[in-house]
Every structure is written in structure tokens, then in C-alpha cells.
């Protein structure tokens, strides 16, 4: 595979400061895309710029809060100004958890998750759809979760947001398909990042026992699936969900 298979593409990856998003940004940059990776703080953005910049030219770090429309608008202007065009590849990866049993869950916990994990995709896709439509080319990849399909006690809010992303992506795939834009989902299983390091040991062990491949996934293994969906080779795949979960759930 050529290392510059994504040359000429402009990729926007949200939540690229650590974990899965960082691995996605690195991989897209390695494949030749100009990448804008985002963090929620200026220091985080500077660190992304440093990391990506060391590996590839023409990559930048941006500060973005996906829950704020003005912040999304500003990030898109920055991408266009600094990388030369609006994104041709959009990866909605930023996401958070706020676990609680439904009976204890505050409405604020519900709202924060839906806003950050789902409404964010609405905002960013809308902001990118116009230029992709005009160009008759675009790849949108939304990062969901195995939990969005399997459900998980204590994660009603998170699972709803992640299942929502799948329905959203299928609908958008139908809307934008006629213009050569694909919209797909990658649903990670149990991946070794800050998000899963927070889990209590007992829960972690129980989860591991349910994974046929017997281990946590690496962020790079999610990045590989995302990168594939961005490649020319994946041009005929749209509205799909690729599960990368060690066999934890077989769909």
C-alpha cells in the first residue's frame, strides 16, 4: 500500500489529543492526508500540532468544543485557512461517558452525553456537507461503540448516543450518497485508553472474559478501520458499521 494514498485529502479528526482520536490522526497523516486534530484546550491543540507536525507536513492542531456551534464554525474556518480547503474527510471521534444507573441519572448527565457524542456529529456533518457536496467527494466516519448495539447497564445515556450515531449515519449516507459522499461508522469494543482505564478492576476482568480474542484492543486497531473507510478502496461502502471488538459482539 502506498504511503501517500490519502494525498490531497484534508482530514478533520475531533478529540485527537489522546486515545483513539490520536491514533486516527496519526494514521491519516501517515497515509498522506493533511490532518487537523482537535483538543478541548489550547495546550492540547499545541501538543497535537507538535506530534503530527513531527511526522508529517501540513498538519495542525485546533481547539474545539464540539458542544458549541461557534467553536465548530471557527474550527472549520481555521481548517480552510490553514490547510487550503474544507475537510474532505471528517472523523467524529470526540466522545465522553457519564455512567450511572437510569434511576440515579440526572438529566444533566443525559444531556451532556447526547450533546457531546451525538449532536456534535449533527453540527460537524452539517458544517462539512456543503463543501463535500460541491466537490462530489467526501468521507464521513463516525466513531460509535459496541455498547450502542449491545446495550450496557449503567450506560443508558452513552448507549443511546452511540446507537443514535448509527441511525444518523445511515440516514446521512442515503442523503449524500448521490453526491459521492460516504458515511460510515466504526464501533470499537473495549479499547485501552483513558476512557477504559477509569473502569473498576472487577468490571474490567468481567469484560475481558467476554472477549474471544482475550485482550483489550489498541487504539491503532480502530485507526486502521477508520483509515480504510477513508481510502479510495472503500468507495463502495456506505451506511455501514464496522465492528472492531475482538469478537465481543458479533453482528
Amino acid at each position: 500500500m502506498s504511503d501517500s494514498i490519502l494525498a490531497g485529502e484534508i482530514a478533520l479528526v475531533t478529540g485527537a489529543s489522546r486515545g483513539i482520536g490520536a491514533a486516527i490522526a496519526d494514521e491519516l497523516a501517515r497515509l498522506g492526508a493533511k490532518v487537523a486534530g482537535t483538543a478541548t484546550t489550547e495546550t492540547g491543540a499545541a501538543r497535537i500540532a507538535e506530534r503530527l507536525g513531527a511526522a508529517a507536513e501540513g498538519c495542525i492542531g485546533l481547539c474545539l468544543d464540539v458542544t458549541k456551534q461557534a467553536s465548530v464554525d471557527a474550527a472549520l474556518v481555521a481548517v480552510e485557512e490553514q490547510l487550503g480547503s474544507k475537510p474532505t474527510i471528517l472523523v467524529n471521534n470526540a466522545g465522553i461517558t457519564r455512567d450511572n444507573l437510569l434511576m440515579r441519572m440526572k438529566e444533566a448527565e443525559w444531556d451532556a452525553i447526547l450533546d457531546t457524542n451525538l449532536t456534535s456529529a449533527f453540527r460537524l456533518c452539517k458544517a462539512c456537507a456543503r463543501s463535500m457536496t460541491k466537490a462530489r467527494h467526501g468521507r464521513i466516519i463516525n466513531v460509535s461503540s459496541v455498547v450502542g448495539v449491545s446495550g450496557n447497564a449503567g450506560q443508558c445515556n452513552y448507549a443511546a448516543s452511540k446507537a443514535g450515531l448509527i441511525g444518523f449515519s445511515k440516514s446521512l449516507a442515503r442523503e449524500l450518497g448521490p453526491r459521492g459522499i460516504t458515511v460510515n461508522v466504526v464501533a470499537p469494543g473495549f479499547i485501552d485508553t483513558d476512557m477504559t482505564r477509569e473502569l473498576p478492576e472487577a468490571q474490567r476482568d468481567a469484560l475481558l472474559a467476554s472477549i474471544p480474542l482475550g485482550r483489550l484492543g489498541a487504539a491503532e486497531e480502530i485507526a486502521a478501520a477508520v483509515a480504510f473507510l477513508a481510502m479510495p478502496a472503500a468507495a463502495y461502502i456506505t451506511g455501514q458499521t464496522i465492528h472492531v471488538n475482538g469478537g465481543m459482539l458479533m453482528v
Binding site: 456543503r130 457536496t133 460541491k134 442523503e175 448521490p178 453526491r179
Partner: protein, 78 residues
């Protein structure tokens, strides 16, 4: 400089891939010129670019015929 009407009709021809003579003032984008909903959104985008303006969604929804597009541009860009 061509007239607003000529510029609008040229965009309609380009965007919808129809023949110039089909683009009468009374032609409806959907019913007469075969546009689907995504085509009409793109048509408005193209008008916005040609006339360097932003057409709010509420107004865009009302532009369904060639004449309505011409009238809109004339009314808003004088």
C-alpha cells in the same frame, strides 16, 4: 454584464443538467425540471455563490420556480 434572469437561467441549466429552452420563467425545479430535494439545495448554494449572498433557509424553501429565484435576487440585491 448579463441580466439577473440570464445568470439565474445559466445556473439552472448547469446545476440541473437541463436544456436552456426548458428553463422558462414558469418552470418548477421539481415538477418541470426533474430536480430532487438535494438538487434544489445545491441550486440555492449555487445562487448564493453567483450573487455573493446568503439565502436564509426560510427564503430558500420558497424558491421553487425559475421566476421565484429571479425575483428573489432582484428584490434582495437590487
Amino acid at each position: 454584464m448579463s441580466s439577473v434572469e440570464e445568470r439565474v437561467r445559466k445556473i439552472v441549466v448547469e446545476q440541473l443538467g437541463v436544456k436552456e429552452e426548458e428553463v422558462t420563467m414558469d418552470a418548477s425545479f421539481v415538477d418541470d425540471l426533474g430536480a430532487d430535494s438535494l438538487d434544489t439545495v445545491e441550486l440555492v448554494m449555487a445562487l448564493e455563490e453567483e450573487f455573493e449572498t446568503e439565502i436564509p433557509d426560510e427564503d430558500a424553501e420558497k424558491i421553487t420556480k425559475v421566476k421565484e429565484a429571479v425575483d428573489y435576487v432582484n428584490a434582495h440585491l437590487g
